[in-house]
Symmetry: C2
Subunit: 231 residues, 2 copies
Amino acid sequence: MTSRDEAATADASPSGSSGGRDALSRLRSDIVSSVFEPEMRLKFAEMTKRYDVGVGTLREALSQLSSEGFVTVEAGKGFRVAPVSAEELVEITDHFIALEKRAVREAIAHGGEDWETHIVAVHHRLSLIEGLPWEARMERHSEWVERHREFHHALVAACPGRWLLRLRSMMFDQLDRYRFVTKKAPEGLGRKKFEEHRLLMLATLERDADKASDLIEAHIRDTSDRALAML
Amino acid sequence: MTSRDEAATADASPSGSSGGRDALSRLRSDIVSSVFEPEMRLKFAEMTKRYDVGVGTLREALSQLSSEGFVTVEAGKGFRVAPVSAEELVEITDHFIALEKRAVREAIAHGGEDWETHIVAVHHRLSLIEGLPWEARMERHSEWVERHREFHHALVAACPGRWLLRLRSMMFDQLDRYRFVTKKAPEGLGRKKFEEHRLLMLATLERDADKASDLIEAHIRDTSDRALAML
DNA sequence: TCTCTTTCTACTTTCGAAAATATGTGTATC
DNA sequence: GATACACATATTTTCGAAAGTAGAAAGAGA
């Protein structure tokens, strides 16, 4: 979470050498997008070559990912990709919905003009991809993931509770892993999400906390159920 | 969280060399017990000497502590002890109470004989310290912290939601930092907590979820309010 | 005197080799 | 054939040195 923000701000860095921060996010991204199977061992020899970093740097990244719940670690036996399960998806979904609803309520209560403006901005960025025809959307899927995160984060950014935002982000990141299985969703789905995001933005800007809350619940539950069916 | 459990199971390890796991928990313990002031820079040169580990190992520990929220990190500028504030204490308390109440409810619904037995066992271990006169309690404060954690964890251990337990543990660990300021509490406080823990155990074993829930709320809220007043 | 550049110092960050640990293989013994 | 032991290999874990950076101090030009 902390690292996520920093990685985002440092994307215009000098250039050249990969760096540890970068290895961390690339590794996380590879786990989220199922490049590595759940339960698979992440050997240092292979990983250092793949991400072009030393063992120390890699270990730090893996260690952090274990705190975030993406990998498991057993002392002396190395790191593995954390398992996924239907039960876990259900649990994560419940926690995320509860946290997101509380956060958006707080944000609506405390948000100012900057908050509103940023929501409109990132929603536009998101809609630029979601409005695209199916094939084009698929091609830019990783960009969509990023913008989708930005949009949902913008909605709750004005929430003053730092820990609420932190716990929320943890659950959101975990959901990303499961969201990935619906990548190859039927054609109609993208259009539906497009509309849901628009309505969610409008309800939030209208400061209708109850409506926004309900839309979030339905929006997330729907995505999760779809993922659950494909698992 | 994950690391905490492992450290606990590995306490009967061979002996000798400090090791990275150990450095991590000693560092966390030093932050919790305010050996280092909030906002203070944690320089590698000093820390490697203090904990007798290499820079890589130390970095891994600090990195993990930043995920847990005990230290902050700014790229290129190193690590600092995370700040504390009254606002944060209030927020963490609210989250912890909500999570703990849900977890104990689940535990009561799912717990079996082993769960009950373990609660009785660790409560006894805790009461051995809490029953002591004031001075003796003070001397064994770090043991009390450990046993207090064990007791509260035992109450919710039968909760099937792994993420609920995980989030709960995060908040509990954060509260430890604030709990420490009440270490030098008036004489009567220890006796009161002794009784509260006993009642909490009894309500849980009687499977009275509502009662246990209320006791938890009062128990935690009381401690937090006391800490808040001293902050 | 002020500001901009340069140099120097303290510190962080990264790497690859060495030490410690686990796993697998073969051999002897019952 | 099964079990225990010793050795060899694979893998993790740790360390200290080298490279890279940020911030302070010193110096040059206006």
